[in-house]
């Protein structure tokens, strides 16, 4: 069974469209994340949820809106897509909070969604 699964794997769409990426984890973890990996492979955290509550919201355009219906799911909706949004988006999960004394648990990553904006 895949521990962290994302759909779709590939997303090709035109500028200005709205799209969603879904993520599910079956590890029983409390915390989930969205990361963006750019063309130079640089990885940056975007959002994190702990038990359905938003706990990390990095400097991301408000066109990006995460939603966590339950602690096993974290979706990412993107409005008005721009060329600069082209990247690979990774979902991840961890047992506990991502900072401080409880941040010592490894994160488990999905295989990514490759978003290409035409």
């Amino acid at each position: 069974d895949t521990a962290v699964s994302q759909t779709p794997k590939y997303l090709v769409t035109q500028m200005g469209n709205d799209k969603s990426i879904k993520c599910e984890q079956n590890l029983g973890h409390d915390t989930m994340y969205w990361y963006k990996q750019d063309s130079k492979k640089f990885l940056k955290i975007m959002f994190s949820y702990n038990n359905k509550e938003l706990i990390i919201n990095e400097t991301v355009p408000n066109r990006f809106s995460p939603k966590s219906p339950d602690k096993a799911h974290l979706n990412l909706h993107i409005n008005s897509l721009e060329l600069g949004d082209s990247a690979v988006y990774f979902c991840a999960s961890s047992q506990d909070l991502p900072t401080g004394g409880r941040g010592n648990q490894p994160q488990h990553f999905g295989d990514g969604t490759r978003l290409s904006i035409l």
């Binding site: 962290v4 130079k40 492979k41 640089f42 990885l43 940056k44 955290i45 994190s48 990390i56 990774f90 991840a92 991502p98 900072t99 401080g100 941040g103 010592n104 490894p106 994160q107 488990h108 990553f109 999905g110 295989d111 990514g112």
Partner: protein
């Protein structure tokens, strides 16, 4: 703010030789340090971590890393490289802010 530096974009090593992938960090307080590996078209996979205790940490696939507090380093090592170790390696640190990744080092093991 915490940060991680991986000074080498690319490391080339012959199969069977030892390998080292370098990482230095900056964080206030005690660091939690991680190494992850990324194969093509895949997500990151956890290799090993340092939380506290023994400075030499052993992880998956025969990898190990040495925590050096005075040099603020956490270099990844393997005594004998395999062609299948060729991948992108990320060092990461957690302090009082969420996980911060280095820019990655591409390891090529040549047969």
């Amino acid at each position: 703010a915490q940060s991680v530096a991986q000074p080498e974009d690319q490391v080339n090593v012959a199969e069977g030789n030892p390998l080292t992938v370098k990482c230095t960090y900056s964080v206030s307080g005690n660091p939690y340090l991680f190494w992850y590996v990324q194969y093509p078209n895949r997500g990151l996979q956890f290799l090993l971590k340092y939380i506290t205790g023994d400075n030499l940490v052993k992880g998956s696939y025969g990898f190990e890393a040495e925590f050096n507090k005075s040099q603020t380093s956490f270099h990844l090592k393997k005594p004998s490289a395999l062609v299948s170790d060729s991948a992108l390696y990320f060092c990461a640190v957690i302090g009082n802010t969420p996980l911060v990744f280095g820019k990655g080092t591409r390891l090529s093991v040549i047969a």
